[in-house]
């Protein structure tokens, strides 16, 4: 391997000049990763009129911003963005490149990993730097890419031992956003955009934002229902409980797949990651994917008729019983106490 660096790059995902939260979360994690391998943290910003972002990233521990600013790059398009990253990665060989596991990140990262022949792990829930012995060979300071796999029944640690660049995508909300007290001096390296005919193969005709009506990420109390509720009618009890105690409604992936609740309310690895003051899980067995999205909640109440359900492992309070019996009691007692 040539030109091995200890650089950690974070792709800053922006729309209309606003960076996605996950990009700052990744910078905060990237700072720690860079520190544990004596490396530098670089933010890659692609867009049009996005120089202000190149300054903002220093508040999250960035050492250097790499800026590609051109009117042709205003909106995200796969081919030009991937082409730019491909060229930069081949030229500078970063050791780690991180993307948010957003739709853009999951569209862009595999394309770049393919052209640079890098290893890529999707939807990581944790990243660590560690020395590793693999097949009797010793490797220093590899990136451990940790993710649930196989329907949440196993947790896999993936490594990329023999390639210069290790890539990963990480879900929004999984890593903590940590602004730093003493940012590095702003250092921006501008990289020119060189157009290519292939960039023109896809054009945006129209863009429509639905506006996020659902904002589970900031909800102080969440009541979430699972497949264990059995029917949509039973799920309505969960909605009723949420209404009474002033909570937002959420669901597990199985509940979403069953049509009990809309996909924008899905908590878990393939949904939203939340950290509310109180999370009430009703009829949710607690597969690792679901737990990955809620186990950082301040207080967790689990209601389930199976005392062995894994959700009880992360709960602070457990109620073993049929949700259809427990919820009405909860509502009645709550109304009596708080009215």
């Amino acid at each position: 391997m040539k030109n091995i660096t200890n650089d950690v790059w974070v792709f800053i995902e922006q729309r209309n000049g606003h960076a996605a939260d996950v990009s700052y979360e990744l910078l905060s994690k990237g700072r720690k990763l860079a520190d544990s391998m004596n490396g530098t943290l670089k933010a890659v910003i692609i867009g049009s009129n996005v120089k202000h972002l190149a300054t903002q990233v220093f508040g999250y521990g960035t050492d250097e911003a790499l800026l590609i600013d051109n009117p042709a790059l205003k909106d995200y398009l796969t081919v030009p963005y991937a082409r730019i990253l491909d060229k930069m990665i081949k030229e500078y060989t970063p050791r780690i490149v991180l993307f948010g596991a957003t739709i853009i990140g999951r569209d862009l990262a595999p394309r770049v990993a393919s052209s640079t022949k890098s290893g890529l792990t999707a939807d990581c829930t944790d990243l660590q730097i560690s020395d590793v012995t693999y097949l009797k060979q010793n490797y220093e300071k590899l990136l451990l890419q940790i993710r649930p796999a196989f329907g949440g029944n196993i947790i896999a640690t993936i490594i990329t031992p023999d390639n210069p660049t290790q890539m990963a995508t990480v879900r929004e909300g999984v890593m903590e956003m940590a602004p730093i007290a003493y940012p590095h001096d702003v250092k921006i390296t501008e990289i020119p955009y060189i157009p290519d005919p292939m960039d023109e193969l896809v054009k945006i005709i129209e863009q429509h934002m639905e506006g996020s009506k659902v904002n589970l990420k900031n909800a102080p109390i969440i009541v979430a229902g699972g497949y264990g509720l059995g029917t949509k009618e039973n799920f309505n009890q969960v909605i009723e409980l949420a209404k009474v105690i002033g909570a937002d409604v959420a669901g597990s992936r199985a509940a979403v797949d069953a049509g009990f609740v809309t996909p924008d309310r899905q908590v878990g690895q393939t949904g939203v990651t939340v950290r509310p003051k109180l999370y009430i899980a009703v009829g949710i067995s607690g597969a690792i994917q679901h737990r990955a999205g809620m186990q950082e909640s301040n207080k967790i109440i689990a209601i389930n008729n199976d005392p062995d359900a894994p959700i009880f492992d992360v709960a602070h309070y457990g109620i073993v019983g049929d949700a259809m019996d427990v919820i009405p009691v909860f509502i009645e007692v709550f109304k009596n106490k708080l009215k």
Binding site: T160, Y317, K337
Partner: protein
């Protein structure tokens, strides 16, 4: 006329995993899991079939996997696919998404010319959503991921509605293009009874070899000829049938390695047990009021 290639995958039904499926060492015993047609790939096939019906053309289904993956190729024929290829070789085993996309792209180049490559957005066994974009990159063509609808096709351009974070976008792409499809984009059609009758005996080489067991090699050749003439032969593409760099396939061609696998530990936990009674739930609500969560 537009020709489509559809990439499909047979996946273990991860939504129905029981304790027995987990081995003591924390790995998964795939043999015990039912193998199903990845749902989003079925939606991708449906979109390709609709294009064929509207504009004419051919739909070719391709899967890379073990020999038993021919099951989903037959199912594709039941739905309406014109032809199906099984990409299978022991040397492909252990491939990550990079090695898989390399083999798929080389197989696609071998199979022939096309206007569309369709695939499901992701497969439920890995949930990575990587093979589609990586295959597009290797074929040096543009990609549209998370497609929700094919709006129109005119000459060499397709208009597609696809999902973006917080909304959707209408994109216009020059053909050829690779499109990954969301499950909700379209409802896959049921198998046609007529086609089930016509294709239920469609077989790959290995399946014909089993059929011919105990007979001479010549007999297998005869069977292959017969099945081919009746359009019931599912060709298998191995490393013998296409030129691939052996360094880029299987475990060798996979930069990512599974370093450690841990079974998720069930049971235990340190929670406070609350009785499902008025008194029990009352004390819990009191505690949450003290903690300033309620009230």
């Amino acid at each position: 006329m537009y020709n489509s290639i559809v990439l499909v995958k047979q996946v273990p039904d991860t939504s129905n995993i029981s304790g027995k499926v987990m081995k003591d060492d924390g790995t998964v015993n795939r043999a015990l899991l039912p193998a199903i047609f990845n749902h989003e790939d079925k939606s991708a096939l449906e979109l390709a079939l609709q294009i064929k019906e509207r504009f004419g053309g051919k739909v070719t289904v391709v899967t890379m996997g073990p020999l038993r993956a021919s099951d989903i190729l037959r199912e594709s024929l039941f739905m309406g696919a014109d032809e199906a290829y099984l990409i299978s070789d022991r040397k492909f085993a252990g491939a990550d998404t990079l090695a898989t996309s390399y083999v798929l792209s080389e197989a696609i180049k071998k199979i022939g010319s096309f206007d569309f490559v369709f695939a499901g957005r992701q497969a439920i066994d890995g949930d990575t959503a990587q093979v589609g974009p990586q295959t597009a990159e290797k074929l040096n063509m543009p990609q549209i991921t998370y497609a929700e609808e094919i709006i129109d096709i005119k000459e060499n351009k397709v208009t597609v509605k696809h999902k973006i974070d917080g909304g959707h976008e209408i994109l216009e792409a020059q053909l050829p293009v690779l499109i990954t499809v969301l499950k909700d984009a379209v409802e896959p059609r049921p198998f046609s009874a007529k086609r089930v009758m016509a294709y239920k005996n469609a077989s790959s080489l290995v399946e014909l070899e089993k059929l011919a067991e105990g007979n001479s090699l010549l007999y297998v050749d005869k069977l292959v000829d017969e099945y081919t003439s009746r359009n019931l032969f599912i060709p298998t593409i191995t490393t013998d049938e296409m030129t691939v760099d052996l360094e880029r396939i299987g475990i060798k061609g996979s930069p990512t390695k599974v370093y450690k696998v841990e079974s998720v530990v069930l049971g235990g936990g340190n929670h406070v047990n609350i009785e499902p009674t008025k008194a029990g739930i009352g004390s819990l609500i009191d505690q949450l009021m003290i903690d300033h969560i309620f009230g």
